[in-house]
Amino acid sequence: MYPADLRYTKEHEWVRVEGEIGTVGITDHAQKELGDIVYVDLPKVGSAATKGQTFGSVESVKAVSDIYAPISGEIVAINEALATAPEKINEDPHGAAWLVKIKLGAPEEIKQLLSPQDYQKYVEAEAGH
């Protein structure tokens, strides 16, 4: 269900690390919880992301949800396509609908992220409440 090459947060973001770049998105669970996504607010390229701090938001018809930086570093790219097609997040949350790319400022933070198995367990436990 949750891709093996990604790492996850309890705030329902994912990170794919390739070299010194971490690609960030929101999880399939997050998009399902939000419902139809109609708006995405992303930071400017060149701005700084700090782990655990909000750096943007995703809005569905009903709700606004903050996005928290899963890792610290510099925003080096944003997914421009989402500005006109935010519904891509509902369609392909772990792939084409990535949100930002962050140049890792503190690579050791990766170890603090959840494995796919642990994230899956976390989501199931949350649903059980």
Binding site: G35, D41, V61, K62
Partner: protein, 361 residues
């Protein structure tokens, strides 16, 4: 939490459930946009059994309705429905209500779910007549069949000819063999019906309507779509456009206030406010900058705080971000450049005519 007779049906269908004013209600099934579009283009079915029902009985039923509600109940014909305001003496809203004249001595009223206890207490304690006020919610489940294919869907289940029933009229008949009050009313800006049936029949009728509407592409719809639909049609939602601090004059609901019908609860306060001048008015807006103005956000005019958003969000029909807001009366004009404060960031918007959506007749 309170549940409607259809609660287990929603859960079986995989609806996402939310706490709506103490009621465990479906917010969406297939998705808000999908459900919204089904109602605009075909037909949608809503469980609105959380709504309350209160009835006035006796020779004074109409007189009581005219005393308690702002619209002219005495003008109603048998089989006619009427949107009205239930006000405190100070002119603020207790609730907005839908009256139905069943007979000269019988008024049936549909009220908001989370206001029903308060409404009943208000009506009971402000009743100067001999009419009997009955809290009747437990006797009714309510289903809304809304959309251009709503009438065709319901017609398959009833011998009552629906086509001669005009908008805001109703008749008592049978739906799928069970007694039903069949009203051409709704909260979506679309054609369709709201039916009131016995709670123990609700699950069966729900299934019958879903089957009947299948050929038209019927969708089960939740409160999410109900909200986007009613917002496009600029229909008020208690706690948003109207509440105890706001009168019909601010909310552009002057048309439901009939000053010339004689005295009614709240009349003096409204007249006074009218003479003194209404300080703020409800107006529609459309976002011109990037962002969605939502319920409760502050509205700025020339950079200064001027009002607040009562309801705001994406309009699936128009493909724009729209909303309603209160502004000082002199600012509440069409074409006014305003800004909505979205997370401390002022984003441009412009006031526009409402309703945002009006169906082709």
């Amino acid at each position: 939490m309170k549940a409607t007779p259809l609660n287990s049906v929603h859960r079986k269908m995989g609806a996402k459930m939310v706490d709506f004013g103490g009621w465990d209600m479906p917010v969406q099934y297939s998705g808000i946009l999908d459900e919204h579009n089904a109602v605009r283009t075909a037909v949608g079915l809503f469980d609105v059994s959380h709504m309350g029902e209160i009835e006035f009985h006796g020779a004074d039923a109409l007189a009581l309705a005219d005393w308690l509600a702002t619209n002219a109940a005495s003008k109603l014909k048998i089989g006619q429905a009427q949107y009205s305001g239930l006000l405190y003496e100070h002119g603020g809203f207790v609730d907005d209500i839908l009256l139905h004249k069943v007979a000269d001595d019988h008024i049936f009223i549909c009220v908001n779910a989370s206001n029903q206890d308060k409404d009943f207490e208000h009506m009971r304690s402000n009743n100067p007549t001999k009419a009997r006020v009955e809290f009747a919610s437990s006797r009714y489940a309510q289903l809304a069949i809304q959309g251009p294919k709503g009438p065709a869907t319901l017609q398959k289940l009833t011998k009552t000819d629906l086509s001669p029933i005009p908008y805001y009229h109703f008749t008592d008949g049978k739906v799928a063999g069970t007694p039903a009050r069949i009203a051409r009313t709704g909260y979506t800006g679309e054609d369709g019906f709201e039916i009131y049936v016995a709670p123990e029949q609700a699950e069966r009728i729900w299934g019958e309507v879903m089957n009947a509407g299948q050929e038209f592409g019927i969708k089960a719809c939740g409160l999410g779509a109900r909200n986007t639909l009613r917002m496009e049609a600029k229909m008020a939602l208690y706690g948003h456009e109207i509440d105890a601090t706001l009168t019909p004059l601010e909310a552009n609901l002057g048309w439901i206030v009939k000053f010339d019908k004689g005295d009614f609860l709240g009349r003096a306060a409204l007249l006074k406010r009218k003479e003194e001048g209404v300080r703020r008015k409800l107006v529609g807006f459309e976002m011109t900058g990037r962002g969605i103005g939502r319920d409760g956000y502050e509205v700025l005019v020339d950079g200064a705080p001027a009002g607040w958003v009562t309801s705001g969000g994406p309009s699936p029909t128009l493909g724009k971000n729209i909303g309603l807001c209160y502004l000082p009366t002199e600012q509440a004009v069409i074409g006014k450049q305003i800004q909505i404060l979205i997370r401390n960031n002022p984003v441009d918007a412009v006031t526009v005519p409402t309703p945002f959506y009006k169906r082709a007749k």
